[in-house]
Amino acid sequence: MGITGERENYLSDFARFEKDISKNGQSWFGEIRRKAISRFAELGFPTTRHEEWKYTSVAPITKIHFNPCGYELNGLTVEKVRRAAFGELECSRLVFVNGYYSAELSSYRPLPGAVHLGSLAVALSTHRELMGPHLARYASYEEHAFTALNTALMRDGAFVNIPDGKVVEEPIHLLFLSTAGREPTVSHSRNLIVVGKNSQATIVESYVGLGESVYFTNVVTEVVLGENSVVEHVRLQRESRKAFHIATLQVHQSRSSTFSGHSVSVGGALVRNDVNAVLDGEGVDCTLNGLYLVKGQQHVDNHTRIDHVRPHGTSRELYKGILDEQSSGVFNGKVVVWKDAQKTDAKQTNKNLLLSENAEINSKPQLEILADDVKCTHGTTVGQIEEEQLFYLRSRGLDREIAQGLLTQVFAGETIGRIKIEAIRTGLEEILLTQFQKDKKHGETVQ
């Protein structure tokens, strides 16, 4: 199939889709969709000749003809939803099935007045005044083909709007479940999270595949932080082991705001996570932590970019990877300090643990500094489990597998441990534990 052929499926998806949306009060957004699709038609899918895609080939995605998803419960129950992720977490839970908001599976806790929480598809028709200033204003469809595709074809997702001066105590969980059947399907979910001045919120995004089918998730989330606001954001990617997952998290921060992001990636066959943060105000604090844990033939690519635009910003980044069997990974972390961003303090660390001789990681930290009074450091490590530590544990009676599992958990714990809400931490620890032990013969646990 030629390069244009690969694009054509999506272009004809758009042509069909455009007819639907002109009827439902979303026409105000049609202009941006049209710009985005024509930009996608120009850009096409990235190839490995593209610097930002050097180690990740999306050829497997472009070769498959994915049909748009439908809302199919396929026997999904509230109980199954709870088991999918963070079932113990006291939170408002917005559930999406194959990218569509599910009113029957979602549940809400009491929220402070004027906080809006719900389906993006509905909000596109009803909340134009709240969304208009933000939607597609941050994640660039001009530069990124997958973002362009998502912007043109987005159907649903979550819209969270927290007005000025509101503290939302309990987390908001956006749970995206895939029940995809035998036919390969694609969903372009889109989330917009706007947090006002002096407000505070915790957002959890989970992507979970039920079953082992082939599907493609192409998701974009924009998070907008008002002045002096505080947002903790946790992202869990646990798609089917045959799924493709391409995600962009675009964060825009105003003066004195604090963003803490934690991205945990364990599922998927081919995964690309882009996290971009623009620190567009004085005294902004940004933390991006990540953990990727892959095995088999999985490939995971984490690209982060932090733009320090204004002075006195602080950014901290810790990404850790655990790669087993023939899996491969990429970490590409770019920190750009613009000319005006004096007194920037940026620190970036990437640590990798290779559990197999056949596993591979490409790590590339990048610093671009245009200001002259800054403090920036970065570092990468790639290592194996230390034989000395392994021997010490074994000499006390622990199996090689158990000992190795413990040391791997400990390695992962450094990032997970930084998540503030305990129920999220324990939820993630449980997920990681099953991930570590899934393919092992020994069922012993050590907790």
């Binding site: 034989e387 000395e388 530590q389 021997f391 010490y392 544990l393 074994r394 000499s395 006390r396 009676g397 622990l398 199996d399 090689r400 158990i402 000992a403 413990l406 040391l407 400990v410 390695f411 714990g413 450094e414 441990g417 012993e444 050590v446 907790q447």
Partner: protein, 263 residues
């Protein structure tokens, strides 16, 4: 309990142990002394199953089984415990979690019921008193940020909790001040029993003022060159290792001369 016969071991192609013979019965405490580089720690690590050492000849029979064929974890489950000369730090791994997992894997192997968190805590608290260790230390990751003395006490605590049949202490006394040494020695003495064998590997006689051994062996250049009772340790302390070295050289010369005459 343990019988070592003509044990040879090397690391990186260099022979360190050159024919060790040693027999340890239940209830006995053996001290192995020797100068730096004589092979003391190598012997301890070979018995514990460290894979960096290659056994090139000889055998080790432990309770009728071929010890050298067993994985380190199997040795531990069968009752062998080595207190490390340099205990390993494991940042992030909680000490209690680790010790409970270790104990339960050994208990399981022995056909005993695994201890739950509460029962384990009671046991650990009781043993902590034995080595004068505060509970706060056990809430920290394994050996991380522990002082030298705390690490050694932690080794003895592990030994007390795991209750081995054969304990091997690799220079547990090195680098300890006298108070810490007494604590460690008290811990070891409390564990002395009729059915437990002990091997104390040490550089200094000082430890043997507090733990009185049944036998003392001198290791030199990878072989045991002299064995005796506890008096031998005192003699070594008074005269130093040079005396042994001299005796060994003398013996070699005599051998050579005798050989010469025979030819």
């Amino acid at each position: 309990m343990l019988e070592i016969r003509n044990l040879h071991a090397s690391v990186g192609g260099k022979e360190i142990l050159r024919g060790i013979d040693l027999k340890v019965n239940a209830g006995e405490v053996h001290a192995i002394m020797g100068p730096n580089g004589s092979g003391k720690s190598t012997l301890a690590l070979v018995l514990a199953g460290r894979e960096t050492y290659m056994v090139t000849a000889g055998e080790v029979i432990y309770e009728g089984k071929n010890l050298l064929k067993m994985a380190p974890e199997d040795r531990a489950r069968e009752g062998i415990f080595m207190a490390f000369q340099y205990p390993v730090e494991i940042p992030g791994l909680n000490s209690m979690t680790f010790l409970k997992a270790a104990l339960n894997s050994i208990r399981k192997h022995r056909g005993l019921e695994e201890l739950d968190a509460m029962d384990f805590l009671d046991l650990a608290r009781e043993k902590m008193k034995l080595v004068d260790m505060g509970e706060d230390l056990m809430k920290r990751p394994v050996n991380e940020g522990f002082s030298g003395g705390e690490k050694k006490r932690n080794e003895i605590l592990q030994m007390a909790v795991l209750e081995p049949k054969l304990a091997i202490l690799d220079e547990t006394d090195s680098g300890l001040d006298i108070d810490a040494l007494k604590v460690v020695a008290n811990g070891v003495n409390a564990l002395r029993s009729e059915d437990r064998g002990m091997i104390l590997v040490t550089h200094y006689q000082r430890l043997l003022n507090y733990i009185v051994p049944d036998y003392v062996h001198v290791l030199f250049n990878g072989a045991i060159v002299k064995s005796g009772g506890k008096e031998l340790a005192l003699e070594l302390e008074a005269k130093g290792y040079a005396w042994i070295e001299e005796e060994v050289r003398e013996a070699c010369r005599v051998d050579l001369q005798e050989g010469g005459h025979a030819a």
